[in-house]
Amino acid sequence: MHELAITQSMLNLVLEQAEKAGAKEVGKINLVIGEMTGVVSDCVQFYFDFISRGTIAEGAALAIKTVPTQARCRGCNKNFELKEFDWTCPYCQGNNMEIVAGKELFVESIEVE
């Protein structure tokens, strides 16, 4: 349910940037969302359609790039994708790791007119 708060912050950020550029309309918003954040893309779309009404971002397309959770094994230094319920390194079977990707939550760019 944090998607509502997150979508609201995203919309504020987009509107601020669009207004700064003197845009009349926002056509597309490119988002990057890491899997580990637990942010559900469909929910973001749902809330966005609702809260963007009456703003210059109404009707904008949301392009969401999802980043899988990546870990780096502290034992053998190799990177691998962290699978649900399997947190062992596929190379050395170690279980000491560092998260290197999957926590992203940002607006990459917007397309405006």
């Binding site: 349910m1 944090h2 708060a5 997150i6 912050s9 995203m10 504020n12 950020l13 987009v14 940037q17 669009a18 550029a21 845009a23 988002l31 580990m36 954040t37 637990g38 959770t69 870990a71 962290l82 649900e84 319920f85 947190w87 279980n95 000491n96 790791m97 560092e98 998260i99 926590k103 939550l105 940002f106 607006v107 990459e108 760019s109 917007i110 397309e111 405006v112 007119e113």
Partner: protein
């Protein structure tokens, strides 16, 4: 026209959180964000912590709940200042709500601020409140698979308290494997087994807290 933004969506929250942290620092108040699922024992732990810290340090509490002031009333009986935040349906506290609550906390009179977040293992992990430490309470009836299901929360925590440890003989919970999984992904984390019923581990928790406060 394409405009490069590359800005964190939660940037606005983080800016307010930084201001909260400054306000706390200037008043020499150490703040702890207590997070857990509903019913894991956040309020019980707060009550035990207040009891153990009597005469050692002055405590204040912010109670975050979707609705009601039941927890705040219980905590107020311990004679410490309590401020209630009702999120009105919101599933987590954010820096802005915390900022509003802070203006009602007598910061000059306390050294430690315990912030009880809304019971939820997902959303609170995302929102910095301006706290100095994040503490996660995971109670054993919830099961030992929680780090897999809510990795961000376990990854971000400075300490994990395994609560209701007195129930261990009655439940299927592999405490050793549970700790190992968390340590694997979060090296800095302090893990303490506690029970608010028998008092096990509370002393260790309180002394960890006092060490962190410096």
């Amino acid at each position: 026209m394409e405009i490069k933004v590359v800005k964190d969506i939660l940037d606005a929250n983080e800016q307010i959180a930084a201001r909260n942290r400054q306000l706390l620092d200037s008043n020499k108040v150490f703040a702890v964000n207590l997070m857990s699922s509903p019913g894991a024992g956040k309020t019980s732990l707060i009550l035990e912590t207040i009891k153990r810290l009597k005469g050692k340090t002055k405590v204040g509490v912010i109670e975050g709940d979707v609705s009601s002031s039941l927890d705040a009333e219980v905590v107020a009986k311990e004679g410490v200042p309590v401020v209630q935040i009702n999120t009105g349906g919101g599933c987590h506290l954010d820096a802005n709500m915390t900022s509003a609550a802070l203006s009602n906390v007598p910061l000059k009179d306390i050294r430690l601020l315990l912030i009880e977040n809304v019971g939820n293992l997902i959303c609170p992990a995302e929102f910095d409140l301006g706290e100095h430490r994040k503490v996660l309470i995971s109670s054993i009836p919830e099961g030992d698979d929680k780090p897999f299901k809510y990795p961000l929360m376990f990854h971000e925590a400075d300490a994990v308290l395994i609560n209701k440890i007195d129930l261990l003989p009655y439940l299927k919970f592999d405490a050793k494997a549970f700790s190992q999984i968390i340590k694997g992904m979060n090296q800095k984390v302090k893990i303490i087994q506690v029970s608010c019923v028998t008092g096990q581990g509370i002393e260790e928790w309180v002394s960890w807290l006092l060490t962190q406060m410096g």
